[in-house]
Amino acid sequence: MRALATLGVQDTTIAAVDSLSGDVAVALQLEPTLAPRERTGPPDTASAMKTGYIVASVIFLAYIVLLMRRVASVRKSS
């Protein structure tokens, strides 16, 4: 229970835990556990990077094609 107090758990909560049976009180103790999927290093976000570059390229190229078509249209009609 002293461990709970040092973790900042409020007195009312400690009192509630205190009143429980021994097994439950042990289960409620805030012991650190490992995350299910422990990761080391940065996340794998390469696909998001590639998507971003592809979409940006498509937008720029589409606009360039649009401009070229406009210029060709004006030249043809002059």
């Binding site: 971003g52 210029v71 002059s78």
Partner: protein
């Protein structure tokens, strides 16, 4: 009133339009080279991973689309209101359209980056929302221009809207300081020196150069087209 000699000169400029614009081609090659350098030879961020490399598209597109394009649009439009020179109106409309393309790239790459780092494509937080407002303002500028046939009225009204749109830009810049949101504070455009490693900074510098070249090459081509379009209209009306 357009004089006959001016119409003749502008008609000649239509015929001079090159089938392939060498400056745009050069800019596309430069941007392609920067993309390859950013994706293959620049180190990934330790926290965000590879998606941080979108920085080399997102930030140059934001600087050019938001700060430069909106400034050109507003200044050219504002000076047009003063001296009524059609060339200024064509510069303003060219900057607005190219800026709109760059702003679209900013919003799309930002969304993809946001999904990877925040877990969502979009959040109604101050920087993103105000940037979307600017995108809609520039879109409305372009739609307004398309809706007005009279050239003088079109130039005058869109110049006013262009000047007003620029007022939003400093606010967008300050949103990350004034409000609590998801978007990080500037890495480059801040009083202190940029907080990046030298390899990242050199790639960013090259990206800025390549995108600046693309930006002005597109504005130049768009301006040439607008000149040719107006010349054709003048010839038809003469």
């Amino acid at each position: 009133m357009t004089t006959a000699s001016a119409i003749k000169a502008r008609s000649a400029s239509v015929r001079r339009l090159p089938p392939v614009d060498w400056l745009v081609l050069l800019a596309v090659l430069a941007v392609g080279g920067v993309f390859a350098r950013a994706m293959l030879f620049t180190p990934a961020d330790a926290t965000l991973g590879a998606v941080q490399r979108l920085f080399y598209v997102h930030v140059p597109a934001a600087i050019l689309g938001m700060y430069v394009a909106c400034s050109v649009m507003a200044i050219a439009g504002g000076v047009y209101l003063w001296i009524k020179d059609d060339r200024l109106d064509r510069i303003a409309e060219s900057a607005a359209e190219v800026g709109f393309v760059f702003l679209t790239v900013v919003l799309v790459t930002g969304s993809i980056w946001g999904k990877a780092s925040w877990g969502t494509y979009w959040a109604w937080e101050p920087r993103l929302t105000s940037a979307l407002f600017l995108w809609f303002l520039v879109l409305s500028y372009l739609v307004l221009r398309d809706a007005i046939e009279n050239r003088e009225a079109r130039a005058r009204l869109s110049a006013v809207l262009g000047v007003l749109a620029l007022l939003l830009v400093p606010f967008i810049h300050m949103t990350v300081y004034l409000f609590r949101g998801l978007h990080p504070e500037p890495i480059v455009l801040k009083p202190e020196k940029p907080s990046m490693s030298p390899e990242m900074l050199s790639t960013f510098g090259l990206a800025m150069l390549a995108f600046t070249l693309l930006f002005f090459a597109l504005i130049r081509l768009r301006y040439q087209w607008a000149t040719a379009r107006d010349a054709r209209v003048d010839v038809e009306q003469a």
